[in-house]
Assembly symmetry: C2
Homo-oligomer: 349 residues x 2
DNA sequence: GAGTATCGCTTAACCGGATAAGTAGCGTCA
DNA sequence: TGACGCTACTTATCCGGTTAAGCGATACTC
């Protein structure tokens, strides 16, 4: 049980004052190079690491950012998305020795309460907002609070803080055109939660694209992103009189569930039914046939989000060195790419 | 942009000193009930939330615990296990208003470094150790540091801190006996990473049980838990001359991958091959047929781990009220239960 | 009625850093 | 040679809580 080393210990060992040690450690003027070198050597030798609370109290910065996820205990694990996102965020944060505080909440009210508490406690310097809604009460709440934030998703009109987002219009068009080219004329989409911004964007993109092509039908059914609903909706779609020859899912979990239902009904994939998943995790490659999906680099996306938040906070990272006084703006990332795999093929005639 | 309220503000508003406010807010003696009530009312009205850094600095407690996960960015998302665990941990922590700091690392060295930094910075009051190995250098490291910790897994002989674990012997036996009863005589197991404690425990349990029953063969192949390896090993197993009639997987992801391979090879499940998954996430119910699996309540497990850590730290939670001076000991949880589903059936004769 | 315990509060020190302000020592220059 | 400026520190204060110690007023004891 080693004792923690404080700057006072270093000061005593070096025969200087606490102040001198602080100047030396922070690379500020006020000490000679000789003294600085000596202090740094002693600090390193003693294994000094500054007490986070003390520093935070002085400089009014928590050296941490937060992310609140609104999911139930049972459903949060199934979507690889969040862990990949967090993983990417971490990669950027670690470079600046920032910590990530994670909180899982059940309702929006709880989520807002968490933000308020984090802010009041100064527990975090900024937050990531996930699952952006079409009209999202969190946006103004956070902005009013003055808590730095980055929206993980967008674009957001008149946003009071930056958003990092992918264009969903182009991929939506890509999917439909791809299916059309394969000869599919009856296409269904199992969409995500209606209130979410990207769901709305995709809804519109599908409608617009569908209007340009001679589909017989392009239907959309909204879901809650769970495998249960994915399976249930697929079962209903495939039992209808004029069943679709292709189904597009707004996430990978539902697509896997849909594939299960297709197997259950004895349908040959892709001969009798083509399936496309949005968001390509390893899940899509576990199945047989592997799922055609829209690939995007989620860890890279998370890293980008973290970069923007860090620059908003004014912290240094490897990719964005410290005092380049450029304000953080919204960033549009590369749209998802269609990765055709075994689950899609020509429509049966 | 509201200003943060400090106890000095409350003191001024109530016409008392900072000290009195502190006593009142913390329910300590030193103020009259009248004054206490008044102070609490003012604090509530002003929306006071204590500055975490200041409190931490005073009381030498971070009011946070940490968890470091050693996975790559790409593979961490796929296993629902961690998110469910974290979700359960959070449920307990929130009750005590503790925060959870998450860090994803690549190597053991990095992980140890994270623990050292957390400890030195006083960023966390305790940590959860996941993926316990058969000889785990982290155990002594953490104990030497004097950082409170709970091992998520066990049992650990001569442990210097508590472990929360499930018995894996009984479920191992359950699986083999179940498959034996179904008439399977050639059983393969795609095990997890060899160095992990629970892998070793299961290895032995399988061997012991197999010795008691008249199996023709019970083979074990170790893997890295990824879907890729799960698929690859399954492909190899099923291509062998005397292929197994049942395969048991040490996690759900590999089982799903194995099912994919079975489909790929045109095998009828469960007629020609029975599959069992260890760790039952929603994944197991997405497939067709649904996977027979070993169910355990991971969120509840996480909650238990958090409880033990909190009592070790000496913090109050709802389930374990404050000063019941019972030392925190290892806890054995209910073993996983076999949930038979469509992926297992009688062996073909 | 003097001594003293108790209550209820204030004062002040402290946690471990950051930092503004003060100062000793030295060189420079008119 | 004394005023000035610079370097290289030290000292002291602050951040916002907690908490030991101090202290006047009241109640209690003998």
């Amino acid at each position: 049980m080693t004792r923690r080393v404080t700057i006072a210990d270093i000061a005593a060992a070096a025969g200087v004052s606490k102040g001198a040690v602080s100047y030396a450690l922070n690379g500020r003027p006020g000490v000679s190079e000789t003294t600085r070198t000596k202090i740094l050597a002693i600090a390193a030798e003693m294994g000094f690491v500054p007490n986070r609370a003390a520093r935070s109290l002085s400089v009014s910065s928590a050296q941490a950012v937060g992310i609140a996820l609104r999911r139930s205990a049972r459903t949060i694990g199934i979507e690889p998305y969040f862990m990949e996102l967090i993983s990417g965020i971490e990669a950027t944060l670690s470079a600046g020795s920032f910590g990530l505080t994670l909180q899982i909440v059940g309702t929006v009210e709880e989520e807002l309460e968490v933000y308020r508490r984090w802010w009041a406690e100064r527990r975090v310097d900024g937050v990531f907002l996930c699952d952006i809604g079409t009209s999202d009460q969190r946006l103004d709440f956070i902005a009013d609070l003055g808590l730095p934030a980055v929206a993980v998703g967008g674009p957001i009109e008149g946003a009071r803080f930056p958003a990092v987002w992918h264009d969903d219009v182009e991929p939506s068009r890509d999917i439909l055109e791809y299916l059309y080219t394969l000869g599919h004329r009856r296409v269904a989409r199992v969409a995500g939660i209606p209130g979410l911004l990207h769901t709305a964007i995709r809804d519109k993109a599908y409608d617009d694209t569908a209007a340009d092509l001679a589909f017989e039908s392009v239907t959309t059914v909204h879901s809650d992103y769970t495998g249960e609903q994915g399976a249930q909706i697929t079962r209903r779609l495939l039992s209808s009189a004029k069943r679709p020859t292709a189904i597009v899912y707004d996430n990978d979990v539902m697509a896997v569930a849909g594939l299960g239902v297709a197997h259950e009904l004895g349908l040959e994939i892709p001969e009798q039914l083509s399936l496309v998943a949005w968001d390509d995790s390893q899940l899509c490659r576990l199945t047989h046939p592997a799922l055609t999906s829209l690939t995007r680099d989620i860890p890279a996306y998370g890293a980008k989000c973290a970069e923007v938040l860090m620059s908003l906070i004014g912290a240094a990272t490897e990719t964005a060195p410290k005092s380049t006084e450029t304000r953080a703006f919204s960033v549009q990332c590369k749209p998802a790419q269609l990765s055709p795999r075994g689950s899609t093929g020509p429509a049966q005639t």
